[in-house]
Amino acid sequence: MLKAMLRGLFAHKLRLILSALAIVLGTAFMSAAFVSGDTISRGFTDLFSTVNENIDVQVTGKSDVPVNPAGGEGLVTALVPQSIVDKLKTVDGAQTVTPQVVSDGARVIDKNGKAIATTGAPRLGGAWVDGDPAVEIREGNPPRAADEVAITANLAKTGEFKVGDTIEVITLQPRQKFKVSGIAGYAGGRDSLGGETFVFFTLPVAQELMLGTPGMYSNVDIKAASGVSDGELKRRVETAIGTTEYKTLTGQETADAQASGIQSFLNVFKIALSVFGILGLITGAFLIFNTFSMLIAQRTRELALYRSFGASRNQVLNSVLLESILLGLVASLIGLGLGVLLGWAMTKLLASSGLPSGSVVLKPAVAIGTLLVGTLITVLAALIPALRASRVAPIEAMRDAARPDKPLRTMTIAGLITLAVGIVLLILRGTKAVDNNVITLGLGSFLIFIGAVMLAPALTRPITGAIGKLVDWAMPGRLGVRNTGRNPRRTALTAAALMIGVTLATGAAVFASSVKAGVTDLFRSDLNADLVIAADFASGPTAGFDPAIINQVKAIPGVTSATAIQSDAVRLNGKDGFASALDVEPSKTLFGLKAKSGDIRDLNAGEVILNDAFATETGLKPGDSTTLVTARGGESPLKVVGILQPNQLVGSPVVSFADAQGFRVPVAQQGYVKVADPSQVDAVRAQMKTLVADNPEVTVTDPSEQLKQSTSFLDLLLNVLNVLLGLTVLVAVLGVINTLLLSVFERTRELGLLRAVGMSRSKMGWMVATESVLISLLGALLGLIVGTGLGIALVKIFGGDFLKLTIPWGFLITALIGAVIAGLVAALLPAIRAARLNVLQAISYE
């Protein structure tokens, strides 16, 4: 019995291959995300173990400064003084004590005058330490004089530097010239550890340029004497220097701590990518549901025959489920294999940009998870068709297999109810009646989507009929339109697969375009500046310019107001957040700052102006005293002089430039300039450019250009999302091909007749293409409608000034055109099949 039924499964190879392909793609994507993530993460773990191999115990300052969410973790702030180093040397069991200076933010200028960038890895600068077993000079000598540096081979390669070259480096200080005395590499022949660059200075230079404080160190590495364990040495060190101000870790703990930062980033990467893999799988589930429904409809007679021989319902059910398990398992296995391959390729690709790599890591959990998810989704998708198969009555073996379609009313009513519940949930969230985002937004959106899918069959005929009017004039078109409406359930399910990707992309597009419009409006209406100096986004958190430059800008003829803005994370009134230093008087013009209470004026050291939200939250009033903790400056008292009216451009407390000297980096990130007459703008711009000419990380632009730059990030994000959603669209197109192939197969006789009464091959093709394009358009249209609706709901719910509801018409039209193209592509194979039918065989086909 089982054997016979399994033979039935393999009789429909092409369709099974298509369904399997959907699972293969989804599982491959998912496993590739994990494999590459795990491989990279193993690479980092190995790397940090190597780096810390010679460190038994490491001492660092306990960093008790506000964390800057914008990055700059490597900008060491809590330092270790010489006195502690001396104390460590006296610890019993410490064989060697090596104080180190390492910090992020040593930017080397390349031959084109640009700062050499990395792909996210730090640009380290530090002190050369003789006898460090992890680093070796490959060429030349270590730095011995204040104007000498050694650079890593990675940096030498990227910048095409040789020993003896003069290079310029931007550190905490503006650019300075150094002579390359040597080129260094890491043990094991590595040019870099993980794509980072490293400039080795002499110790005093490193302390000044990288830490900004002479006589201090970023960390102290200690090697244990033989017979003293790492843990024991750690305990002794802690006894010697205490645990309040300094953190003491064993080498292993250091490696783990370093790796965990990367790990959490990689986890986000893995989960984000596998979400798209699972979306692909869910899309594939529609395809599998369709395939199994079709296979079972075709095999009704066969199944009834088994039933009339005495096969029980359960036997039929089990055999169909077994088919789906087999299909899911085999497809997931292939997908897993493909995923490992893909992950490996991705790792190699990333390794070429400097990430550490090693042999491919396939964790058992990932393998099992992939197989389980792939198989489970296949089985779930096949469950309803399987139940339907088990209800085939033996009598149907004798009957004509064609059964009339069940009416759509029940499904449509259920769909309407689901849709309504979803909408109500969103409204509840919109009116703040219910605040739980998971229930309202998550469940609401999901129900709206499901409701739309359930309504799709009832909408199939009206929608395809309406679109079909366009092609109704020609016979192939008219036949194609009618064929689309023949089996609304099948058409709708096929289209629904496409809906998933389109809905998500549309929702994101609506939201993003609303953000863009909101931000643009803000810029246009509230910002009263003609020119902007800004640190390049890609240059990292250390990029910027000396705020004093703005005084020279103010002196340029035609400039009426100008200010620099220097921002950092601080702890104000015991609360971590951002603060900015700016010139308050010109900012009244530039940003429209107005007093809510107190004075809004230029600040002296120890004074602060609070933004409205901060004042409301803390209850501070003008005249109150509070405290400020900066990364380098420690704690100092502050007096509140004024409170701002709500302002869209300045949304954080304002401190003086004097207090800003305690910020992590002594540079301003932005500067805004107002010019008296528009005709002077170009002249002012030219002069400003000469002022920052020696700073390759800063550009002079105008607000609209700056706006374009800041929104281009959004575009990039949207593009990445769309590319990832492309996977679901690909699977959906497979579904369209699948449905059409089946239609061509089912309608063999009709197609034969059409040929017999004089339809040409190309017209046959167009008939199939019409059906295909209509299915894709139906899916795209429903997806666009639902997606736009959800996007609008999100914008309304989150509201705020940075959101201005904007419908991305360009995207919607592009999506429709894309659907037509996808439909044509999907039609290719089925159309060829239809056109190639042998007329005589087709017409006499049983």
Partner: protein, 252 residues
């Protein structure tokens, strides 16, 4: 032999061979036949005699191994797909045992389908004549599933007639019908020949159906073995019996 002008279709020394080697089957062995214009020709023969193959070859649905087929003034043999498509649009009509109507189209749309595919406008007067002759005026807006078998086959007949092709090929047109509906169809075919001068070739194994024809051609073992003009059902039956005997004799 009639003149080439009066022949609606001709087969000249047509051979049809399927397969090769051991599995070779010769379906037609040098069949030559002229289908007279404006006549109703029936092709009869026992199962496996090659009667369907002959019709398929005559209609250009199947290629011939050797020999030539001509419909009207078109040489069918050697035509490519586009040539055959054009031929089917302009010169040939079909009626099948299984009706073969398109379920998505109404009766009227089915009737006009060949014209629509060819992009031709129906001749209104002729169209009215056809639907009145087949008696479908009140059923035109119905879908095939809403029609009885006899009605469906009448739609199929009207579809074949509407384009006024050179020849209509009917493959066992009454095979799926009860005797009354079958008689309706045969009467209708007879009338289109007598009254409108339509040329019809019908393959059948039913002696009664063949008796409606002007001429019956008997096929056995891939060859034309006999023919009758203006046959009666009894005469046809008689010939069939004789043929069966001779076939049996040949086999022994």
């Amino acid at each position: 032999m009639s003149s080439p002008i009066s022949a609606a279709a001709r087969a000249a020394d047509v051979w049809k061979v399927y397969g090769s080697g051991e599995a070779q089957v010769i379906a037609l062995r040098g069949v030559s036949l002229e289908i007279e214009r404006g006549k109703f020709t029936a092709i009869m023969g026992p199962s496996g005699s090659g009667k369907s193959t002959l019709m398929h070859c005559l209609a250009g649905l199947d290629s011939v191994t050797r020999g030539q087929v001509i419909i009207g003034d078109t040489v069918v043999t050697g035509l490519g797909d586009s040539g055959l498509t054009k031929l089917r649009r302009e010169k040939v009509g079909f009626i099948f045992q299984q009706f073969n109507l398109l379920p998505t189209l109404t009766a009227e749309e089915n009737i006009l389908l060949p014209l629509a595919i060819a992009g031709r406008k129906p001749d209104q007067e002729w169209y009215q004549t056809v639907i009145q002759t087949v008696g479908l005026s009140d059923r035109l807006k119905h879908r095939p599933t809403e029609l009885s078998g006899g009605q469906q086959q009448r739609v199929a007949c009207a579809r074949a007639l509407a384009a006024r092709p050179e020849v209509i090929f009917a493959d066992e047109p009454t095979g799926n019908l009860d005797s009354r509906s079958g008689a309706d169809i045969l009467n209708f075919l007879r009338r289109s020949v007598t009254e409108y001068g339509q040329t019809i070739v019908m393959v059948t194994h039913d002696a009664n159906a063949a008796s409606y024809a002007d001429r019956v051609v008997f096929l056995a073992d891939g060859q034309i073995v006999d023919e009758l003009t203006d046959p009666s059902a009894d005469a046809v039956l008689d010939r069939i019996k004789r043929l069966d005997l001779s076939v049996q004799a040949a086999a022994e």
